[in-house]
Symmetry: C2
Subunit: 333 residues, 2 copies
Amino acid sequence: VSVMVGVDIGGTKVALGLVGEDGSLHGDAREDVTLTGGDAVFVEGLIGSVRRAVAESREEVLGIGLGCAGTIDSARGTVIESPNLPVRDLPLATLVRDAIGLPVVLDNDANAAVWAEVQAGAARGLRHVVMLTLGTGVGGGLVLDGRLFRGAAGGAGELGHMVVMAGGEVCACGRRGCLEAYASGTALQRTAERIADAVGRGLVEEGKGTDYGRGLLRLHRQDRLSGESVGALALEGDAAAGNAVFEVSRWLGVGLANLANVFNPEMIVVGGGLSRLGDLLLEPAREILRRTALHPSGDAQVAIAELRNAAGVVGAGLVAWEEHRSVARVGRP
Amino acid sequence: VSVMVGVDIGGTKVALGLVGEDGSLHGDAREDVTLTGGDAVFVEGLIGSVRRAVAESREEVLGIGLGCAGTIDSARGTVIESPNLPVRDLPLATLVRDAIGLPVVLDNDANAAVWAEVQAGAARGLRHVVMLTLGTGVGGGLVLDGRLFRGAAGGAGELGHMVVMAGGEVCACGRRGCLEAYASGTALQRTAERIADAVGRGLVEEGKGTDYGRGLLRLHRQDRLSGESVGALALEGDAAAGNAVFEVSRWLGVGLANLANVFNPEMIVVGGGLSRLGDLLLEPAREILRRTALHPSGDAQVAIAELRNAAGVVGAGLVAWEEHRSVARVGRP
């Protein structure tokens, strides 16, 4: 069989794996720590990792797919800017192709993720799919009419920076009121902090019981309140943590309804760290979608992403596979 | 030469014209009053109008394009629901085709409008174009990767029903905080009413001069305050009317930035009645787009629609032309 090398370029680590056309991983994905310290060192380390993966592969390697956070010009293979990397306008695809001698595709990590879900995950076989990745921030990927949609210059799909509450909470992007400021791990933490503060000051609503919010308050005093810890507490059944998740979920629902009205997708896939909350996160959001989006867009399915840890590697590999097929199609007489 | 009959189905009138492949009108577009009173009467009237247009044409008529407000399933040729028509789930394309004996395409009026701008208007030759139609309400149309984008079931492009201010002003759709509730003719009227009320109660800010808001107040007392009358006053240089336009324009800017972040389009085209305000409407909105959208999406051009009165007829005709070419492409061996 043949494979692609899928490469998930994170902030401090690069994960690689050999990806079959069906999205299967051949062998384990592995992580290589990449040195930071400027373009040249980063690119050198990355090329070394890819070269090893190609050399050690027992399958025929047809090409390389690179997935990277940030603004990517996929058509030119350039990292325009990335929150994780000390680079700007870096022609990464060309650099790797020239070093390795195989075709290279570079794309946004969110595009890789949604493509993986459409090819081998929750949205298998669907043609109109929107993906939201809810982590510290909110990422977005779009598959429209069966194809990855990147916009005029690779900037499409910044779904977390749709304003849903003009003048509202401050977002990491510097604006106020973005979806990301309301439906992310950061937002869950902030919401839980507010509850913990109220509990600490004795402002618990009557009838909520004396234990209400004690778990959040404890975490807060230990400086351990985070989207992840609040989510874990909510999954254990803690009422106050559950309320924090509920609030985030309702904002997520506002975002889902907006996306449904804009795209009329068959499915919206929710991935990222917050998606571990499953239906605890999705149910209130689905209800807002159903109740507020216009007909027929409110019928969109909402599902948790299926590809978990290796999603970045598999997605990057599958984007390379799609490019390979597309070149073959165009190349035929 | 050959033509398509372009048909713009409005609330009480049907406008028709013969449309060349370049978007030219052959002869005048004309309006036929269509009786309302249920499906059958409406369809009969429509078919009569189309039949006359075909019979009177001196050019070869290749097909018929129907543009209609509402939720349209273009793939099936069905009007799912329309604010203008007393119909539901009406297979209009089939009914007209069977009666006339020519191919019929049915699409949303907003899709027809954006297609017309891309083929023969402000966005000629561009591949990624978002259109906002600002009238009493806000409509939307999308051309992505050079093709009309309709979503899974024809519901895409409801750009006016993107929530930008959760819990905000009531929208005609029944929800709160939609873009339509802030950046439409209705919103301009409401904003002007608020100013007129304040002026009437003597609450004018100091330093604004004794004439400030008198024009709006006069219109208000005559019950003639509307998006159109406020816009006309603003174009004459009235400061209070200009401020009302400015407020609507800034909300429009929030919408433009959202759309830029989501689609990274080359251009956003603004049409509809409010677009007669030209740069008075666009400039403050552009500034918000430039200042708040992410790179590179904030670079999107913002332009006023070029096709005016006949846009609906021309757009419907051009959608029929595109379908004609697409059938020819697929049909070739």
